[in-house]
């Protein structure tokens, strides 16, 4: 029943019922706000208590999220789309990475190679990548082969992209095809030019079965699922030859193509399910503890944290045959948060390979001092670093998997600041306070960048030379004896190792100034280190030397690197295609450098005709033209060649010394088998 004045028109009643009417909603509002405030406060206080068992927070907050041992087949995977619902920023930053696109279904968005029908010739076989509508095909013709393969998946998206296809009569096995698309060079390359192998390897030397190799590290939740293991065992017991690449059959599956959230955070099914409860989520927000249903690598102790990355960035083998068999059935047992060493055996220089006549297979992947010289051994490098052994260094000390687009460079997953000295001086503050005093180099020069000396580029992989991840101090005498690259002469391309020892001793004391008595590669220490390594080194040494001669931050400007030109031209004859590619690239860099100083050597046009994978006769003809051009080039504008450059004062090559050193290098004929 309304009050009598309620039906009175508004204009005439406004003042009459104003006071009483105004009080009512104020009381209502005050009551509502008070009730809400009490409810929120009570909820915030009670939630962690009510959910104590649910949260089950670890007391020390270091072991939270450590999973039970389980094969990938049995794990509760959920997939990155589920993660995106609650972690959109993290999902977006991950989506920008090359981790996401490591393995993709072959469609228009994934394929970057040029499938335009241009033939790629190598070793008597013509590969023709072409399209048929939305299908990507690679035809192989020649040497008795006439097959057309449909590309079904791609591997890689940053430096190069490899292509996977089924093969007739091989069931669900996926094979890596023998040519790949090199993204930087924008060209097709046969696999023999990618890995550090010499000319003359068979066309199908690097034909790998995805299901027993790539699947493990290039996907999330891999389950190879071999289906004829018992049959292979029986055949082996009957004495019949068994080739796993040819005979094993798989019906593989993965939780997600590419390296997704759960590779680093562990299977997230339970995490997603339990966090659909909003009270649990807000209870978690009010605690500092880790959520035990998921792994946050940033919360793990340094060892477990590097283990997360090490599951792929650290070559490893199964600790037992039984474990290996279990892997190819049900997938790996390691999951993020666990101790990697309890599941795998990381490969080091002293690891014997269980292969007849090749038990030094792994040793050749390391420099003589045990430092890795191939990529995918970054984990080993960290484990060998004093900063890890005696400190708290982890991969996340420098790298970041998430972050804003303009803050983190997905090439290397590095925040921009970590490309500076910030990565090191965050701990080494005293050195950071006066870097020049420590380095003896100008503060803004390459010589004052911590990485230049303590993480030099001396690791081969994916057609590039990368930084070593073993953080160490350069030592000329030790590096010479171990026949491995030396940081100082990586930059001082015109210097010898004895010079470096003397200079280092003067800067950092006697322990760095021990005299260089011998070089492990057999070269005379009086020869400039870069040249001695380029000629007398083993394939990795030669590759590193050829690469570093063209570095764009060399302190040798203008014609000061001209003394390297004749050596690099001769290195175009190296039997290793990868080394020829680096030599060619460095020649271009020096040519450009000289052109900028008005020294018109003009090698680039000729180098355009040099195909490091091309037929030998074709390459030889180009090399002759390069030699002729160098010979005709007037040397009057150049500085005198440095001592130890194997050059006379007029830049004429000491051919005999050159041949002698090159013979030392070529004598090291053992292949560096890259386990990719």
């Amino acid at each position: 029943m309304a009050d009598s004045h309620d039906d009175v028109p508004a204009a005439s009643t406004a003042s009459a019922d104003g006071a009483a009417a105004l009080r009512a909603p104020r009381r209502l509002f005050a009551t509502l706000v008070l009730a809400a405030a009490i409810a929120v406060a009570l909820g915030a206080w009670l939630a962690p208590h009510l959910y104590r068992d649910e949260l089950n927070l670890a007391d020390d907050d270091t072991g939270a999220g450590v999973p039970a041992t389980a094969h990938a087949r049995d794990a509760d995977w959920t997939g990155s789309p589920t993660c995106a619902a609650c972690h959109p920023d993290q999902h977006a930053s991950w989506a920008r990475t090359f981790h996401r696109t490591m393995t993709q279904e072959a469609d228009r968005t994934a394929v970057v190679g040029r499938f335009d029908g241009t033939p790629v010739r190598h070793d008597g076989i013509v590969a023709t990548p072409r399209r048929d509508g939305d299908r990507y095909l690679i035809e192989l013709r020649g040497s008795g082969i006439a097959e057309t393969f449909e590309v079904v998946r791609t591997v890689g998206s940053r430096r190069y992209q490899q292509y996977l296809a089924y093969m007739p009569g091989r069931g669900e096995n996926l094979y890596r095809l023998p040519i790949l698309w090199h993204i930087e060079d924008q060209r097709w390359v046969h696999m023999n030019g990618v890995f550090l192998g010499r000319d003359g390897e068979g066309y199908f030397q690097h034909l790998a079965v995805w299901n027993q190799n790539c699947i493990f590290c290039h996907n999330t939740g891999p389950v190879p699922n071999i289906v004829n293991h018992a049959e292979l065992i029986a055949r082996g017991q009957r004495g019949e030859p068994v080739d796993s690449a040819r005979d094993a059959r798989y019906d593989s599956h993965v939780a997600e193509l590419g390296i997704a959230c759960e590779s680093c955070h562990g299977p997230g099914g339970a995490h997603a399910a339990r966090n659909r409860n909003p009270l649990r989520r807000y209870a978690m927000h009010f605690t500092d503890g880790a959520d035990p249903t998921i792994v946050d690598p940033a919360r793990l102790d340094a060892q477990r944290s590097v283990d997360v990355c090490g599951q792929c960035h650290g070559q490893r083998i199964a600790p037992t045959v039984d474990r290996l068999v279990a892997w190819i059935h049900d997938g790996p047992t390691y999951q993020a948060g666990a101790r990697l060493a309890e599941h795998v055996r990381p490969v080091f220089r002293d690891t014997r390979a269980p292969i007849a006549h090749q038990d030094d297979l792994f040793s050749r992947r390391f420099w003589q001092d045990g430092t890795a010289r191939l990529t995918a051994y970054e984990y080993q490098g960290i484990l060998q670093s004093p900063c890890f052994e005696a400190g708290t260094l982890s991969c996340l000390s420098c790298h970041a998997m998430h972050g804003a687009e303009d803050a983190v460079d997905v090439r290397g997953q590095l925040p921009h600041a970590m490309r500076t000295n910030q990565g090191c001086v965050q701990c080494h503050e005293t050195i950071g306070a006066d870097v020049a005093a420590h380095t003896g180099h100008a503060v803004d020069s390459t010589g004052s960048q911590c990485y230049s000396c303590h993480m030099p580029k001396m690791v081969y992989g994916i057609m590039e030379i990368h930084r070593s991840h073993r953080i160490e101090n350069p030592n000329a005498a030790a590096n010479a004896a171990e026949a491995r690259p030396h940081a100082c002469t990586s930059c001082h391309l015109d210097r010898t190792l004895p010079w470096s020892a003397e200079a280092s001793g003067a800067l950092w004391g006697d322990s760095y100034g021990a005299p260089v008595a011998v070089r492990g590669d057999g070269a005379d220490p009086a020869v400039i280190d870069s040249i001695a390594s380029l000629l007398a080194g083993d394939p990795v040494q030669r590759a590193v030397a050829a690469h570093r001669m063209g570095r764009d931050d060399s302190p040798l400007a203008g014609g000061a690197r001209a003394f390297l030109v004749p050596h690099l031209i001769e290195s175009l004859t190296d039997p290793y295609p990868a080394i020829r590619r680096f030599a060619s690239r460095s020649l271009r860099a020096i040519d450009a450098d000289m052109a900028a100083a008005s020294l018109d050597l003009s090698l680039t046009a000729t180098l355009d005709d040099f195909d490091f994978m091309g037929p030998e006769a074709q390459r030889a003809a180009v090399i002759e033209r390069l030699r002729a051009r160098w010979s005709a080039f007037p040397k009057t504008g150049l500085p005198a060649p440095p001592a130890g450059a194997l050059l006379a004062a007029d830049y004429v090559l000491d051919a005999e010394a050159e041949r002698a050193l090159r013979a030392l290098g070529l004598a090291q004929a053992k292949q560096i088998h890259i386990g990719e």
Partner: protein, 152 residues
Amino acid sequence: MAASSSSSARAAWRDDPSSRAAMRFGWAAASAFLFFGIGLELLHFVKAPFYVDVHMRREMWTLAHAHGVLIALFTIVYAAIAPGVVPRATARVRASWLLRIGALLVPVGFLAGGVGSAEGDPSLGIVLVPIGATLVLLAFLLVAQAVWMEKS
């Protein structure tokens, strides 16, 4: 004739304190949240990392802007028509208060939800949103009731 009717409509909300208050509030709130929207545009323009890089904050603040303007417009419309469609002064006063408080709580809740938000969830300030939304809903119900109860 039209001018006369317009002037009488103006007089209606002017002479009713609660409608006048709603009208004042509505225009002020619409201005404030439009201004806030321009601020958000500016944050986009300069790519302010604390805004563009945090998905939850961006979503919450966008919702604050949108709801702030929208409910402010409702409040203006309400103020303009209330004297005509809600005959009971008590109901008008209640609806006006509920609408104004709701119009404030909903966007402020979204705004606060985007400040200090935890991963995947808005901050606890978000609880203001359902409270505010309830108040707005009650205001709508009061008006609806008044319209239904009005004698022809």
